[in-house]
């Protein structure tokens, strides 16, 4: 997998705070086994820096067009896990990525290196609309991972 820049929940949420009000989509790549850690970090950072709860769902929810239309109501930041490969899902992301963008929300897509690579290759529209692709690692428990 290509060595994309690394980020942590603290740094990412800081970035999201600055970009509030502008649509954005980040593909966040985590190493297997760190998923629950980074989700906990993300929830905590959003709570501290934005004083809000962070809904975390599965990207397969987007297969439901009604759910897709209801996205603007689901908060300014939305985390969607991509945890398995599905051609339907890729088609959906590729063709409806603009609809996600139009919600004005910031989307964080969480996935593994293998799925990220497959997605970046097979969904060119989606890839080209991504704000950034980042390797996402848990915050340093010693507290030294601020910057």
């Amino acid at each position: 997998m290509i060595d994309f820049s690394t980020t942590t929940a603290f740094r990412l949420v800081r970035r999201l705070v600055m970009g509030q009000g502008s649509a954005a989509m980040y593909l966040l790549i985590y190493e297997e086994g760190t998923e629950s850690l980074i989700e906990t970090d993300l929830r905590a950072e959003v709570d501290v820096q934005l004083s809000s709860a962070l809904p975390i769902g599965r990207v397969s929810e987007l297969l439901d067009v009604d759910a897709l239309l209801g996205l603007p109501d689901s908060g300014p930041i939305r985390v969607l896990r991509i945890d398995r490969w599905s051609p339907d899902l890729v088609t959906l992301l590729d063709t409806h990525v603009i609809r996600l963008e139009q919600t004005g929300a910031q989307f964080l897509f969480l996935t593994t290196p293998a799925l990220a690579e497959q997605l970046l290759v097979e969904a060119p529209n989606f890839r080209n609309r991504l704000t950034d692709v980042l390797r996402f690692i848990p915050d340093d428990p010693s507290g030294g991972g601020g910057h």
């Binding site: 600055m18 502008s22 067009v65 088609t91 063709t95 409806h96 692709v133 910057h147």
Partner: protein, 410 residues
């Protein structure tokens, strides 16, 4: 914190810039820098002007716009829509199909329904009250959203197979093959409903133009052909002009369907402007307030490494701003721009196998590249290779951000 202390908030430096880079914000439409000429031919007017002129002079004309991902097709359609308003009798509608429905589950007739419903919005209240129009609109709504009807089961129904001889249709094809297939019955039905709704506008001799966005994102481009042959053809009989965004792969298709079917086809290359020869890209950034946050050197570096692709220009500016903010800087420095270029290059590097790398290397070393080769074509569609125009000649070059990423990985 001391009372009355003014605290410095760096977010306020960067946020307005990021908001101006967000193409989906309605007010950003005023910041668009319109192209000065056709991207393929500096002697021709810009695409939106050409399309507007055709729609104004040849009512019922059908035009297609093809272009790479992020090349600015939607921008051109929106500029066309704006320019069409210069005549008071213009009735122009913009339909983004991806916004309305799941494109890959779209059936023939659906586009026509969407157009009919939009046209209905343009009618005066008294026109909407007319019986024929009211009924046609009601039927269109039912066709669009479906309906549930409860019916009693008929007890006399007897599916007796011995009522009479079963007949099977045997079709002998004619000798003259039609240029386009016949319109299917559902589409013909929708067509008559749409014409009923459009009647008041057509009778007043209005100049009607429909701009259709989204169909360029069809995963299977052959479906576009089906929509053109059914839905768009149904509009030809009325004097309703159409401008539609079409999939880029059809531009390179040997069947020349686009050129055969449409009166005018315009192609926007992914690289809308050559950053080495034009300051168009720098002007786009300056219009969005880049000068407040970075110097000329940084602006020019972003323009250069965008390769001329508008969306990459925006991505590089945005990532540079986010990097500078992350590093607690009040301005975007050269180092932040370089970091953004590396990030973009890595994104383009993903998924390049040995075959693709060989094609890319051949292009870099020997300027050899064949668009007829499917692997090479995929590189162009994915923007890893960009198409440029110079003095009427097409040529290809590897995306400059990818060149950097490849050098780094070598």
């Amino acid at each position: 914190m001391e009372p009355n202390t003014v605290t410095f908030d760096r977010r306020q430096i960067y946020r307005p810039f990021l908001e101006r880079l967000n193409s989906e914000s309605p007010w950003v439409q005023n910041l668009i820098v319109p192209p000065e000429h056709d991207p393929r031919d500096p002697d021709q007017p810009p695409i939106h002007e050409a399309f507007t002129n055709t729609a104004e002079l040849s009512r019922g004309a059908q035009m297609a716009l093809v272009g790479g991902i992020g090349s600015g097709k939607t921008t051109e359609l929106r500029l066309t829509l704006k320019l069409l308003k210069r005549h008071a009798d213009a009735v122009s509608i913009y339909v983004d199909l991806a916004e309305l429905t799941d494109l890959n589950k779209l059936n023939p007739g659906a586009i026509l329904i969407a157009i009919g419903m939009e046209l209905h919005q343009k009618l005066k209240k008294t026109e909407k009250e007319r019986t024929g129009i009211k009924a046609a609109y009601q039927k269109l709504r039912e066709l669009a959203h479906g309906k549930t009807k409860w019916v009693a089961v008929d007890p006399s129904y007897d599916p007796d197979p011995y009522d009479g001889p079963d007949l099977e249709a045997v079709h002998t094809p004619g000798l003259l093959k039609p240029r386009f297939p016949a319109m299917n019955r559902d589409v013909t039905n929708v067509q008559s409903l749409v014409f009923e709704i459009a009647m008041p506008l057509l009778q007043s001799d209005a100049q009607i133009t429909v701009l259709i966005d989204g169909l360029d994102r069809l995963i299977r481009p052959e479906r576009f052909r089906e929509f053109a042959e059914q839905d768009l053809r149904a509009l030809r009989e009325a004097k309703i002009s159409v401008v539609v965004a079409a999939p880029l792969s059809l531009w390179y298709d040997n069947s020349r369907f686009l050129q055969e079917y449409f009166e005018d086809v315009k192609h926007i290359p992914a690289a809308i402007s050559d950053p080495e020869k034009s300051d168009f890209l720098s002007r786009v950034l300056l219009r969005r307030g880049a000068a407040e946050l970075m110097g000329e050197k940084e602006i020019s570096e972003i323009a250069r490494f965008s390769g001329g692709v508008l969306r990459d220009l925006i991505t590089l500016a945005r990532t540079s701003a986010e990097t500078a903010y992350r590093e607690d800087q009040d301005r975007i420095g050269f180092v932040h721009v370089r970091s953004a270029i590396r990030q973009l290059g890595k994104r383009y590097r993903v998924g390049l196998g040995n075959t693709q790398r060989r094609r890319i290397q051949k292009l870099i070393d020997d300027a050899e590249f064949s668009i007829d080769d499917p692997i090479s074509r995929a590189l162009v569609i994915n923007r890893q290779v960009l198409e440029y125009f110079n003095s009427g000649r097409d040529f290809f070059a590897v995306h400059p951000a990818l060149v950097e990423a490849l050098k780094e990985s070598a």
